[in-house]
Symmetry: C2
Subunit: 348 residues, 2 copies
């Protein structure tokens, strides 16, 4: 099949072997797959991160972090935000039929264990034409939900999970730093729950406009006004939760320096290189920092239910579509994100 594959930390479009569904699995063709910032980071920082993680595991062999997701010297087709159509049933599949459209947690289970679809040499993700999924965790997409919207289940679930882990309740206020897809997912979920004010910060006018589309009460260009100054201007009283959704070095430090005493910081962005902070700032303000990652299966299902019920108007988030051949250029475009939120890969 045609696929944008990563090998030796480089991305290229090539023909790779078709995946084959095993027992309880289905072969699907990708209808739409969102390009995730994590994949840009993986390409840029993956080698360094892999070395760091291997060092941690060498220091502590009983460590719980799995680092052997994929071998970098073999093809890894990334892409974990997909909506697919079933084209072939593996043995024992009874609840899906060819032609069904599905979304799924990007995980595959077989006799060798669990695999991360999109970060695996064995299970290619949605930047290729074909994906193998397990029937057990595939969710049928209802006829009135376009594939492009259904593909946003995964990134929106990241926002729902972050909001759940924050413990935020009506009566609290929120700042969201970074209005890329993850920051927008946080804004959309915060506003769906009636939290306010929500203050969003991003250098991109396009992304600030999208945050307003999701009901963000105030948006700021950090070149003109800091998020915390905007919060003081419009509120300044309610308990504050700061969602860090940029995931680059220096952002946790920035969030800590702006956070008022006793506030919470949710680290939703995933910063792969080493980062710095001033612990003293954390101590004197008694800050709490909750790191988050992914979502639970229940949250994935609930997110898809919200999408199906029309809980968010997600279409404006999609700022571009490319074929598989266009994936490397889309990665380059997302490196300069002024004009983009979510770019979808549509192989067909």
């Amino acid at each position: 099949m045609r696929a944008a594959a990563m090998k030796n930390w480089e991305l290229r479009v090539d023909d790779v072997e078709d995946p084959v569904p095993g027992a309880g699995q289905v072969l699907t063709r990708v209808l739409a797959c969102g390009i995730c910032g994590s994949d840009l980071h993986m390409l840029r920082f993956g080698r360094e991160m892999r070395e760091l993680m291997q060092q941690i595991q060498a220091d502590d062999p009983a460590d719980s972090v799995s680092v052997n997701l994929f071998e970098p010297e073999h093809d890894c087709v990334m892409g974990h935000e997909f909506c697919c159509e079933v084209v072939e049933l593996g043995s024992g599949v009874t609840n899906l039929e060819t032609g069904d459209r599905v979304v799924s947690l990007p995980g595959a289970i077989d006799e060798s264990g669990a695999h991360a679809v999109g970060y695996s040499n064995r299970y290619p993700g949605g930047y290729g034409e074909l994906v193998v999924l397990n029937e057990l965790i595939a969710i049928p997409v209802s006829a009135d939900v376009p594939s492009s919207i259904a593909a946003l289940t995964e990134p929106m679930a990241v926002g729902m999970h972050a909001v759940n882990k924050s413990g935020i309740v009506p009566g609290d206020a929120a700042i969201v730093l970074g209005l890329g897809p993850v920051g927008l997912a946080c804004v959309a979920e915060l506003k769906r729950r009636g939290i306010g004010p929500v203050i969003g910060a991003d250098f991109s006018a396009k992304r600030r406009g999208l945050a307003e589309h999701f009901g963000c009460d105030e948006v700021v260009d950090p070149n003109s006004e800091t998020a915390i100054a905007a919060w003081r201007r419009v509120d300044g009283i309610k308990p504050l939760v700061v969602f860090e959704a940029v995931g680059m070095p220096g952002m946790i430090d920035q969030a800590m320096k702006m956070a008022p005493k006793d506030s919470r910081i949710l680290v939703v962005g995933v910063c792969m290189p080493q980062d710095h902070l001033l612990p003293m700032v954390g101590n004197t303000r008694e800050l709490s920092i909750q790191f988050v990652f992914g979502y639970t299966p229940e949250e994935f299902v609930e997110t898809h239910q919200v999408i199906t019920a029309g809980g968010w108007d997600l279409a404006p988030m999609i700022t571009g579509t490319v074929t598989i051949d266009g994936v490397p250029q889309a990665f380059a475009d997302l490196g300069n994100p002024d004009e983009h939120a979510k770019i979808l890969v549509q192989p067909a």
Copy 2:
């Protein structure tokens, strides 16, 4: 009066002006005052920390961190863990008499606002002969509690506060990194509440012995076995809270690298220089980091009640006593903490 005073980030023993009690205040003579690691850090890192905090305030003038505790070019008599005897009553004092022994939160309130006793040019702390305290927050010490033990109220309250903020409950396990006075206070409070196993780690045999005295279930010399390996050996199942009580660069990183998925890290040590961490480790394990600082007035009172009721056998924590003239040498000795936990200053 005689005092060990800090000026221009140097500590020397000298004659300084006697403090004078204002309305609602009492003049006291210091019976015992513990030397706190924060004071060693203040001497070593205070200049750098002050510059960092001033930068934060310059970037964000509405910031809530007060940095003007004292002017470094004037005398600052540190020492905030004291038990004192009232020697003179200011105007309007009705509930204290000369001869009363008291402990107090190290804060003074007057017409100019709130001051941190021990980090103030105006209110000298317990490394001098005389301290001024507010009647309102002074707690009489009962006759059967020695002054040396009563002076431990403050550091023990730090441990109680950290344990309270951790939300730890019986059924959870704890690791305490660093068994200096703050780490020991955490161990003592965890064991008083029936938490177990508690695993303590310190390079000093003396301090490990003290942790065992307070009921620590396992103690490790990190040169021989890591704390997390010891936890896996004796438990490895219960939800884990890691108390970081060293307060030096690299400790948060170390705590994050050892912490299992979903665990909490309580940062009790106060690291003044810039520090580093790997956010990715926090994300993939969904760690939470709660920074803590000090204690509430209620926790200070409760701690003193526990001490009065004999809830902890604290005498072995006191590993040395010095007069005021011996304070600089005691600071030097605590820089190499193998033989020490708490050194008390006894001016008389």
